[in-house]
Assembly symmetry: C2
Homo-oligomer: 342 residues x 2
């Protein structure tokens, strides 16, 4: 393939001319996430969900700032070593990202893919390093329960009831440093998603809204790379939750693809549904980002996992689109992550 | 440089391993833009600012859909010929983009850089084609006066007064098809901006808020490429307007850089200030995109312009950040466009 100097394969996938590695990552989360099943894996848990800031939005900005600082620190890097930031969040006009990362003074590509932004940022960051455009770049995403509730639903003070299909937005930020210098985990390819709209209008059931996009993406990834589900140790979706998980397993079975043995979902991993009252599971850009950083990357580094397909999913709604009666289209982006032998 | 297989130059700039061309573009605008100085240059002017849709947001989606359809049509391409979309708008959660482009079923990277998104989308699209990641991609951005007023300011029905420093959001969408196949205009390099925050808090004076970012970007581009302003036939900013233009010329002079002979601004070009009552000038993602497509690209194609630096500028505010008393940080992205000899 490199003889022809093209790197796109199949319908929607890509490999890179140069190897791309995740050399460092960090996860910063809130109190509730720090009481969940992954509590011992996060780099930083803050008991104060405002992170010392005056507003929920500035708290989310602080999450991003801290996550990137930690990821750079682990790799002994300074801001001037990072050539580009690929970053985003769920808030209108990417507010958490702009105010969280501006003090680093690193060239920024602001991204929006709803909760799939964790995958979108890693995809573009990998494309950048893989082309030789930068020695090191960072991908940063975040979400915050309170800023998301304020943006998309009701003020917390209303204490309104939530249907069981609703997900719980994760308060957290994950930052990843990508480099062409050999590390323990390689991004060996990506599959980029299209918007898939099945006409679902229930913004309190985002797992169902996003599932068709994840189904499409996973099937396309397997076709493009000529793989079966068993070629992955895990296929990890971002925040489909319990309801979305059932749907994608069922829908893929209709295409004669059985992922039931390898599927996991970050939204299911991050909370204890029974003890924490988190409905269908965790959600948000931060959910998949911190779970990848804290839970899956260490297993890939150690070789416990050899190859996974990481598929953050996003629900492309806004309060305006919802109020105007639009559907909730979904999108998903796939990243193939592999353990690197010494 | 290609011997070392790295393509980054200076602090913030990049060239590409493979040549990147803009092979086609299109501009779709509203009634007011169609009455301005560039009226004969746009591909489509719609007398109905709702473009047949029920809401302002869906009208903006229609703008994007039509612009991309026209750009593809001019190049005799179908959606399946376009491997990636790089697209965004000003609305919360990129609503115009999601609902405007989803029916094309093309893998999408959603972007947010406020009004600089026209530059961000062209930058990432060029990086993609320049790396051999895709034969053809599209960059699409839009803004709509009424959806932006609703999002950022007041309902139109209030008919509130506007200060003279305010800009007028352009109703328009520009779409660009980038390809590795030789065309008449080449993207020879990019300079990617950092967020610059000078603490300006007046959201009705975005020219002043964005000017420092444009100053930084232009100075960095000249330094990275070892050029003087005279190496460009034009240095074209996105939507600084009359107030922003004065500021950047003054600030750059303090750095001993005189762009007064070559500077133009899309926001100044697109409206007739006296006759159209548009305050400091046009603004929005659509402003720079349609002006590039309708006004500057034809001159580059014909060789009337040999090389320009195109610098869309963005004001990174949201209603939430504004209401919470935050400043309005700016960002700018630079694209070097060159005439290609036959």
């Amino acid at each position: 393939m490199s003889g022809k100097e093209t790197y796109y394969i199949g319908e929607q996938s890509l490999i890179f001319p140069k190897d791309v590695y995740i050399i460092s990552s960090a996860s910063v989360v809130g109190k509730k996430e720090g009481e969940g099943p992954l509590k011992d894996a996060f780099d930083m848990i803050c008991d104060d969900d405002k992170f010392g800031a005056d507003t929920w939005e500035m708290a989310e900005s602080t999450l991003q700032k801290e996550a990137l600082a930690l990821a750079m620190g682990k790799a002994k890097l300074e801001p001037e070593d990072i050539r580009y930031l690929f970053a985003g969040d769920l808030l209108g006009q990417n507010m958490a990202t702009s105010f969280g990362l501006m003090h680093y003074e690193i060239p920024l590509f602001g991204l929006y893919g709803a909760c799939s932004t964790a995958g979108e940022s890693l995809s573009l960051a990998a494309m950048c390093v893989g082309a030789g455009y930068a020695p090191k770049v960072a991908a940063v995403t975040s979400s915050h329960f309170a800023s998301a509730e304020k943006q998309f639903r009701y003020p917390l003070e209303y204490a309104n009831q939530r249907p069981v299909s609703a997900t719980w937005t994760v308060t957290g930020s994950g930052a990843f440093i990508l480099s062409g210098t050999k590390g323990k985990v390689r991004i060996s390819g990506i599959t980029t998603g299209k918007i898939v709209d099945m006409g679902i209008k229930d913004s309190m059931n985002m797992g169902a809204a996003m599932a068709p996009a994840a189904v499409d993406l996973i099937a396309q990834n397997l076709e493009d790379f000529k793989r079966t589900p068993e070629d992955y140790d895990k296929i990890v979706t971002g925040d489909l939750g319990y309801i979305g998980q059932e749907i994608i397993i069922d829908l893929l079975k209709k295409q004669k693809i059985d992922i039931s043995g390898v599927h996991e979902d970050c939204g299911i991993k991050i909370f204890d549904k029974e003890k924490q009252g988190t409905g269908s599971g965790g959600s948000g850009c931060g959910c998949s980002a911190v779970t990848l950083s804290a839970h899956y990357l260490p297993m890939l580094e150690e070789g416990i996992l050899k190859r996974i397909l990481f598929v953050p999913t996003g629900a492309l709604l806004s309060t305006v689109s919802f109020n105007e009666g639009q559907s909730v289209p979904g999108i998903a982006h796939g990243i193939v992550l592999e353990h690197v032998e010494d």
